[in-house]
């Protein structure tokens, strides 16, 4: 069985976030990237299925080459190999263009996949679009927020818990299918040093030369989403007032000050 995990090398730090003023999109190049933390749940989920049913786990990502260390750490967790779709043409993609590239990468390099597994959402964009869109591109069924799965023949039975309704749901889908794993439901395993040492050898890079996708369908050009406008959150200058001394008194003084500013 082949378990494909979709993963994103995300911008982890709010201080590292910079927006391209022309396109209004997130700048990823020259920024430290690390594995989107909810993808670790997806990877753990995939590894458990592999350990139970056999086969391999393949991580697939679209990122600039600075996304490689993120894939190395997933290989350190136990992922068997990774494919990085990377090309300047892919830059500035919205979720649609991203899921197009991911789906085409799966079709080309893992055509016999069993199950595609995604994290619930990313920490730097939080759309939760990509899983559903990849499933649409691949024309396979999908269920979100899964916490458990069993494979029976060519069917997968999945469970998910809906918090608001307090309902535990079961679904059965034909394989291949796609699921997204509810965040925080798995205990991602530790990263092994020995696996990390040779991780680089298990990462394949595919540019658009290999993938051969229509340039109109990828990157900024292939993205129907455009940033119509944005209001930057302006940071008022800090007043750097320190209310020292007895905590009771200083809290009172602080509250007074906030009232005076019209903030309370």
């Amino acid at each position: 069985m082949k378990f494909v995990v979709l993963t994103k090398a995300a911008v982890p730090l709010s201080s590292a976030i910079r927006i391209d003023p022309k396109t209004g999109t997130l700048i990823r190049e020259g920024v430290p990237l690390s594995v989107n933390q909810w993808d670790r749940d997806a990877v753990e989920f995939a590894l458990k299925l592999r350990d139970k049913y056999g086969g391999e786990v393949i991580a697939i990502s679209m990122a600039p080459p600075s996304g490689i260390p993120a894939l190395e750490s997933l290989i350190g967790m136990g992922v068997d190999r990774a494919i990085l779709a990377t090309d300047r043409a892919f830059a500035g993609a919205d979720t649609w263009a991203t899921s197009f590239v991911l789906a085409k990468t799966i079709e080309k390099y893992v055509p016999d996949y069993t199950l595609v597994i995604a994290g619930e959402e990313t920490i730097d964009s939080t759309t939760a679009h990509v899983g559903a869109q990849v499933a649409s591109h691949l024309n396979i069924p999908y269920v979100y927020y899964v916490y458990d799965a069993e494979i029976h023949g060519n069917k997968v039975r999945v469970r998910r818990f809906l918090e608001d309704e307090g309902v535990d749901e079961f679904y059965e889908m034909d394989l291949p299918a796609l699921i997204s794993v509810a965040k925080g439901t798995q205990m991602p395993r530790e990263i092994s040093l020995l696996r990390k040492i040779n991780a680089r050898d298990r990462i394949m890079q595919a540019t658009n030369k290999e993938l051969g996708l229509d340039p109109e369908c990828v990157g900024l050009k292939g993205s129907p989403t455009f940033v119509a406008g944005q209001t930057g959150a302006t940071f008022p200058p800090r007043k750097r007032k320190i209310f020292a001394g007895d905590p009771r008194e200083s809290v009172k003084a602080l509250v007074e000050e906030l009232k005076k500013e019209g903030l309370l």
């Binding site: 990263i191 092994s192 040093l193 020995l194 990390k196």
Partner: protein, 424 residues
């Protein structure tokens, strides 16, 4: 699952990477293990690297290492809450003897150098243990469940040398041996503003040490270094003194920034980074019993190779040189039980000589004279001398008035001057 290398280096700092670079260049199969996200990401220093020994041990740095600003101006200030007395030294013709740069960029450069020479650098790995065989020889490292073996291990884990402690080579760090530093990096939108305020021309650097007020008159000091378009502003306090602090250590850098004298220099600059770290202050007194064991060499801060002599603070040149010497020792030894030559190399190098010269520096630097009496006295003296009042306008009269106002005797001043001459 196991794996075998010629050399494992623990710690991708200046010491570890210099060793890795030299060994990989000589054809050794080298593995560098680093806890941080990438080489340099967990390091903190004040801001300056001295070039003299780097030219001897790692001349490659002249070619393309990041050197934000070469230091042209040295300042030492004695500071109180109401005044500052400064000595400034500036060479007329710019020289290239020490430079200010972010340690992260320097280490990152060294990491690329080591990697391009063939060293394998694996990051985000915590080494839990140095492995020994039944005869006590060091044969590898353990990280979690994984063991990796090598003929030689170089421990360059830094000041907080937990692996050496666990291996029973050194006792737990004592507070007398270390200080804690906290610093801010403050970025100027326009670096011309920074240069104008500090009296620098383009690309010129300033290294500035403060004594007195920044540490609440406790042993330690403040510092300011100029990066390309930002300044590193911070405070180092001896760990023996931190309990006496009114301000928490983590607020000391901010407290210094808000001193009226500093505030106007950094006005408008935005806080870019905040970091803190332990730093060795006792130099050679922190050294392990030996620097080489069968299969193991110790380099950099882990070996205590940092010279802290008040104003003169040198770490990176010591670290790099010790890494290079470790690499040479391994190359020449040819076998893991012939590494004692590393100790010999260190002893005949500047490393042990310079550290030994400051063996007693902390006698001066951990007392209260240098950080409490001296800044207060000198500032009072200056004020008394420069303020015209109804008394003879002589230095002698100002000194007499100053000493009369304080509880420090002239004898104490003279004794401490002699200590300083003897030990610093």
């Amino acid at each position: 699952m196991s794996s075998k290398f010629d050399v494992i280096v623990v710690g991708a700092g200046p010491a570890g990477l210099a060793a890795a670079y030299k060994l990989a260049s000589a054809g050794f199969k080298v593995l560098v293990l680093e806890r941080g996200r990438e080489p340099g990401s967990k390091q903190v220093y004040g801001g300056r690297i001295y070039a003299y020994w780097l030219d001897k041990y790692l001349p490659e740095f002249r070619k393309d290492a990041p050197t934000d600003r070469w230091v042209r101006k040295e300042r030492v200030s004695l500071m109180t809450d109401e005044s500052v007395t400064t000595i400034e030294f500036e060479v007329v013709k710019p020289e290239k003897t020490s430079f200010v740069t972010s340690l992260y960029s320097f280490t990152s450069w060294l990491g690329k150098l080591a990697a391009s020479a063939g060293a394998k650098i694996v990051t985000e790995v915590v080494v839990d243990e140095l492995l020994r065989d039944e005869k006590g020889r060091f044969i590898g490292v353990r990280s979690g469940q994984d063991k990796v073996y090598a003929d030689y291990i170089i421990d360059a884990e830094g000041v907080n040398r937990l692996l050496l402690e666990r291996a029973g080579i050194v006792p737990r760090l004592k507070p007398e041996l270390v200080a804690v530093g906290a610093k801010e990096v403050l970025k100027f939108d326009n670096r011309k503003i920074m240069e104008d305020r500090l009296g620098l021309s383009e690309d010129e650097g300033l290294a500035w040490a403060f004594a007195g007020w920044p540490t609440e008159y406790l042993p330690g000091g403040g510092f300011l270094y100029t990066y390309r378009d930002s300044v590193a502003l911070g405070v180092v306090v001896y760990l023996t003194a931190w309990r006496q602090l009114v301000t928490p250590v983590y607020d000391l850098a901010e407290r210094l920034r808000t001193h009226p004298y500093i505030a106007r220099l950094v006005a408008g600059a935005s806080l870019q980074e905040y970091s803190a770290h332990l730093t060795p202050v006792a130099g050679i007194s922190m050294a392990p019993p030996r620097f080489s064991y069968d299969g193991l060499l110790i380099a950099g801060d882990a070996a205590g190779f940092l010279m802290h002599a008040g104003v003169l603070i040198r770490g990176v040149d010591f670290a790099v040189a010790s890494g290079v010497l470790a690499a040479e020792a391994i190359k020449e030894a040819g076998r893991p039980d012939a590494l004692s030559r590393y100790d010999d190399k260190l002893k005949s190098s500047f490393i042990i000589r310079d550290l030994a010269a400051f063996r007693n520096a902390d006698k001066v630097l951990s007392g209260q004279f240098a950080f409490n009496d001296l800044p207060k006295l000198v500032n009072a003296l200056m004020r008394n001398y420069f303020t015209i009042e109804d008394r003879p306008p002589t230095i002698a009269s100002a000194l007499k008035t100053t000493l009369g106002e304080s509880n420090v005797s002239l004898t104490k001043v003279l004794i401490n001057m002699m200590y300083a001459l003897a030990y610093l």
